[in-house]
């Protein structure tokens, strides 16, 4: 939600409105947490790509096992060690040297890091709002109860 310049005093809201408000914040927090997790999985995948390139570069033999399925492998040999096909998205692949390929992945990882930071900031803000809503709601409940008690005595 874009930050709107109009401010609303939480204390002026009815309890039902507060509950609804809390529900929508909860949903937002859930949504953002999920996005954050997705970002982290994507990062791990990209890091695996870099490790694979490093492994291939540092290995002295050309032998490798080619996976046919996840449990069936064929022995093979790599002909070139400095040419990689990098998936740059939407079905396009580009032939790149090990250095360039790693650069692509590192760039992506950094971008994801920035996004994750932004998301974390938003999450912190949302949690603060959630806390203050909870606080006001609790206060209202206590007020309501004491009013009821007073009414019973009268």
């Amino acid at each position: 939600m874009p930050g709107q310049p109009t401010t609303v005093d939480l204390n002026s809201l009815a309890p039902q409105q507060l509950v609804d408000f809390r529900k929508s914040i909860d949903q937002e927090i859930n949504h953002f947490t999920q996005s954050l997790q997705a970002l982290q999985t994507a990062q791990t995948k990209l890091k695996e790509c870099i490790t694979s390139i490093d492994n291939l570069e540092s290995s002295k033999s050309d032998d490798l096992l080619i996976p046919l399925t996840s449990s069936l492998y064929l022995p093979g040999k790599s002909l070139k060690k400095n040419e990689f096909l990098v998936d740059i998205g939407t079905g396009y692949f580009v032939e790149k040297s090990a250095k360039d390929a790693k650069q692509v992945y590192e760039f992506k990882i950094n971008k994801l890091n920035d996004d994750a930071k932004k998301l974390k900031d938003i999450l912190v803000q949302k949690n603060e709002i959630l806390n203050s809503v909870n606080l006001v709601l609790r206060k209202k409940m206590i007020e309501y109860e004491s009013q009821q008690e007073a009414a019973q005595k009268a």
């Binding site: 096909l85 740059i88 998205g89 939407t90 079905g91 396009y92 580009v94």
Partner: protein
């Protein structure tokens, strides 16, 4: 009684409109994902040149493609997606107006029923 049946009809309509709006919004966010992805690809193309070997994934096979052609394709696709986004947004605002109208009608009927 006429009020009551009309009220029910309107609230059904209201729900339906809200569902359409939700569908439209998810279409819009899908378009945004595609748009961002294509922009990343275009960025990547900017750092490449005619020498680069580019392949396009068609089904399970990689087909070699000329740099210029690939870049043109992606640029066109981005334009197409931009148009789609504009269309989706006009649809969304139209639907929002409709919902607002139905809501006002609902409130009016509820007020007259209460009276």
């Amino acid at each position: 009684m006429a009020d009551k049946s009309q009220f029910e009809k309107l609230s059904l309509e209201f729900n339906e409109q809200q569902n359409t709006l939700n569908d439209l919004i998810s279409t819009r966010s899908q378009l945004e994902t595609q748009y961002q992805e294509n922009k990343i690809v275009l960025n990547e193309f900017d750092s490449l040149n005619d020498e680069s070997k580019i392949y396009k994934l068609t089904g399970p096979i990689l087909v070699p493609q000329e740099f210029a052609e690939a870049k043109l394709n992606v640029t066109k696709r981005i334009e197409f997606i931009e148009d789609e986004i504009k269309r989706a947004e006009t649809k969304i605002s139209e639907e929002e107006k409709k919902i607002e109208g139905t809501r006002e009608k609902l409130l009016a009927i509820r007020a007259s029923m209460g009276a």
